[in-house]
């Protein structure tokens, strides 16, 4: 019977999907296991439970510097990218003008450009002009790759925006600025918040560009890279990874929660994929 064959196919598909999830989570699950494992070697079998690797992190001065640098870079990146992304997303969604498609295409290019190309492209002029590498050069690179993400998130917010809402506000005597403040901003706020959070997270984790463009002040991933060579440092890196994972998940849940709450308040069905795709 066709019906039972179809159910059989569905069963195999769900078995496959679950197996795939195991594959996706295999490394992620190991992370906390080794972080709380009382052994200097990152391998099985596991030893006793310990929190000492977290204490080690707490005592590592170099790490604290890297964390501060990364936070500075990620915060600045999030703000700059979201501002640039919001104005581009709004321009693309609201106005018609010549050359829009090629210009937008070029702005979105870093999304499909290998990161090493972006890194090299920025490194060459900096070297040529004799500028010194610093956290600002890292931020410049990160803004370049985060802006397309911000545009992707925000363009769904701006595209779904009914132009007549804006016209209604103007029609009722409000100025352009007042319309932006009273109508546009509240309605796209969830998008702005998720853009900030996503850009922050991407920047916090980005390695290649940071590796090429960082000066003496290293960011967290660059610090981690330097530590991966020393076997004795590995357990504390696992502890660090665990903290980063927890932080990312919290930020993502928060971003999603913001988006949905706002969507619910507007009585709009929140799309499952969010603004990301």
């Amino acid at each position: 019977m066709r019906g039972s064959g179809r159910r059989g196919a569905a069963k195999w598909l769900s078995v496959y999907a679950v197996t795939y999830m195991v594959f996706l989570y295999a490394p992620v699950i190991l992370l906390p296991l080794f972080a709380f494992n009382d052994a200097t070697v990152v391998a099985f079998p596991l030893s006793h439970f310990t929190t000492k690797w977290f204490v080690v992190l707490w005592q590592t001065e170099a790490l604290h510097g890297a964390v501060r640098n990364s936070l500075m870079v990620a915060l600045s990146t999030a703000v700059f990218s979201t501002v640039l992304g919001a104005s581009a997303a709004r321009a693309a969604a609201r106005y018609r003008f010549p050359g829009k498609a090629p210009v937008m295409g070029f702005i979105m290019l870093p999304l499909v450009l290998p990161e090493i190309i972006v890194a090299v492209a920025l490194l060459v002029p900096i070297m040529q002009m004799g500028l010194s590498l610093s956290l600002w050069t890292v931020i410049a690179g990160h803004v370049l790759i985060c802006t397309p993400f911000s545009i992707a998130i925000l363009s769904s917010a701006f595209q779904g925006f009914d132009t007549s809402l804006e016209e209604a506000s103007l029609d009722l005597g409000e100025t352009r600025l007042g319309t932006f403040r009273r109508v546009i901003l509240p309605l796209v706020m969830p998008g702005i918040v998720s853009s900030l959070l996503i850009c922050f997270t991407i920047s916090l984790d980005e390695f290649i560009i940071a590796f090429f463009l960082t000066g003496t002040d290293v960011t967290l991933p660059v610090y981690i890279w330097s530590q991966l060579r020393f076997p004795t440092k590995l357990p504390s890196i696992m502890a660090l990874g665990t903290i980063l994972l927890a932080l990312s998940v919290v930020l993502l849940v928060l971003a999603e929660w913001f988006r949905r709450r706002a969507a619910r308040r507007q009585g709009i069905e929140a799309s499952v994929t969010g603004g990301l795709v």
Partner: protein
């Protein structure tokens, strides 16, 4: 006023609003890319740069066996990674779109979570899993499946493929999922009504309509993987090294930035050409590709 530049008020507002972002991209991406291309025609002279235009870097990049080997290995590994990632991802996207009715958003969220763990640490953990004394070998020895630890799974191209297929999974699943979600379900019912069985229906209706998503997934995975150098360094061994590692070496230890630039430009051109072929092929196969 209105006739100035032939643009109306709306168009000028749009351009003005886009100008900061466009300006940034121009200054920080277009200009540097032009500079990289120029740079690739110059020569490193110990600590100085000789700005006489020359094709020497390209001649070296295309004739020296080491670079050629790395270039083609990168391309080969990237294509295998892409194929594996997209093939592995498609059933998951299909499952999500057609068989998950409740909590779709939760599934999608769970798929993206591993992606948000530190990339470096994730790649490193694969090394832990695949190593000689790794998790996989320990487990298989314990169960008695094998008598000696497997060695073909780490420090070679296989490990690179596996690790990258893992790293890019959400980027393959999401576009395919979106394309599948867009398919009007009544089209499938129509196909069935007209006599197609599940398999024929899949081949004749679902797959062509999902093609834009598949092509997008292919390009999104292929392009960045060519430029990856962390995964080859951590799990690839000498056999798994790729062109990006060489570019990094040229800009770093080897101190031959012009050659590095030539390698970067060359690989970019090759990737662009391959992407274009895939895009056009997909367009022909699946009709409209966004």
């Amino acid at each position: 006023m209105r006739m100035r530049l032939g643009l109306d008020r709306e168009a000028r507002r749009g351009l003005l609003l886009l100008s900061p972002t466009a300006g940034y991209a121009l200054l920080m991406l277009a200009a540097p890319l032009v500079m990289v291309v120029t740079f690739s025609f110059w020569t490193q002279d110990y600590l100085d740069i000789d700005t006489t235009l020359t094709l020497n870097n390209y001649r070296e990049a295309w004739s020296e066996p080491i670079y050629r080997v790395l270039m083609f290995r990168s391309l080969r590994i990237s294509l295998i990674v892409t194929l594996a990632t997209v093939l592995l991802a498609f059933p998951v996207a299909y499952f999500l779109s057609f068989h998950v009715t409740q909590r779709k958003a939760l599934w999608l969220f769970l798929i993206t979570v591993p992606f948000w763990t530190s990339y470096l640490i994730r790649v490193f953990l694969w090394k832990v899993i695949l190593g000689f004394n790794g998790v996989l070998n320990t487990a298989l020895l314990e169960v008695g499946f094998i008598e000696k630890p497997l060695t073909f799974i780490l420090y070679n191209a296989n490990a690179v493929v596996l690790t990258l297929a893992h790293a890019w999974a959400p980027f393959a699943i999401l576009p395919i999922f979106v394309a599948l979600e867009k398919i009007d379900r009544s089209l499938l019912e129509a196909a069935e009504d007209l006599g197609d069985g599940p398999l024929r229906r899949f081949v004749r209706v679902t797959l062509p309509l999902a093609m834009p998503g598949v092509i997008a997934a292919t390009l999104i995975v292929l392009i960045p993987t060519v430029g990856d150098f962390i995964t080859p360094r951590l799990v690839g061994g000498t056999e798994g090294l790729m062109i990006a590692n060489m570019i990094q070496v040229q800009f770093g230890k080897a101190n031959n930035a012009p050659l590095g630039a030539a390698l970067a430009v060359s690989s970019m051109v090759i990737v662009a050409a391959v992407s274009l072929v895939i895009y056009l092929a997909g367009k022909k196969l699946g009709g409209k590709v966004e």
